[in-house]
Amino acid sequence: MAPAVSAAFLSSLVEAVEALTIVLSVATVRGWRPAGLGALAGLATLALIVLVLGPLLDRVPLHALQLVIGVLLLLFGMRWLRKAILRAAGVIPLHDEALAFATGTAALREQAHHGTRLDWLAGLAAYKAMLLEGLEVVFVVIAVGAGRGLLVPASIGALAACALVAAVGFAVHRPLARVPENTLKFTVGVMLSAFGVFWTGEGLGVPWLGEDLAILGFAALFLIVAVAAVRLVRSPAVQAIS
């Protein structure tokens, strides 16, 4: 249960920080009304999606569900891990919440000079941020929790992360730039990729040695490969080739 809850908590932490940055940008430029309404509308849409699609999960055959979720987890987790490796190696810049906040507010102020529908646009930005980042959270919760009866613990982990970020963010009224986002993405990328291999294998009928414990072994292997890749990409030999 612990890997599922930690994966849901850590990935939700990252997504919640990103959503908070955009909602704070909107609130800073246009006030809390459009930011709050947009964010609430995003949450309502998310709740609707979960209520409509949630019960359908029980109707999907287990192996098919495991295979589909496993493949999506591989695509999602390895995408995160690849980006985290390249950021750790210095190939692409680190994600900077303070910069994202500055860019977001600047874009909203720029729009203010060109039109009068700013409240609507600002609310839409908050709505989109909440919906898209929230969908990632919902996906991770379903992916790590479905098929093993861990939906409730995984949801609690995700909700705890969102509540934590919301509480800290609204208390400091600033984007949470000190969260070690790349380290979190690295960790979550490793965990989600390991879950992805496990579920895809289960969907294909592979009886993994050690059953659920195999996930920890896969995570260790992904971690070793990721750390080796960071060191190799950072090394002068590779830089000389490029």
Binding site: L74, L75, R82, L86, K128, V197, T200, L204
Partner: protein, 68 residues
Amino acid sequence: MKTLINIFRELAGLFIDDGLLALAISVVVVFAALVAAIAPAVPIAAGSVLLVGCLGVLFSNVIRAGKR
């Protein structure tokens, strides 16, 4: 409509960032499924293909991106 298309694009972007990585993962999964179908008596073979394939795809993709 434009907003919906943008949201759909961003949704697809959740899973596909680097097209080659997504394609390579899909190839590994299809290959593992073929091995599972061809050799049902040795299901661990499909698991090995899946695990080693994913690790290999990640490593080679990152090294290639680092050289670019």
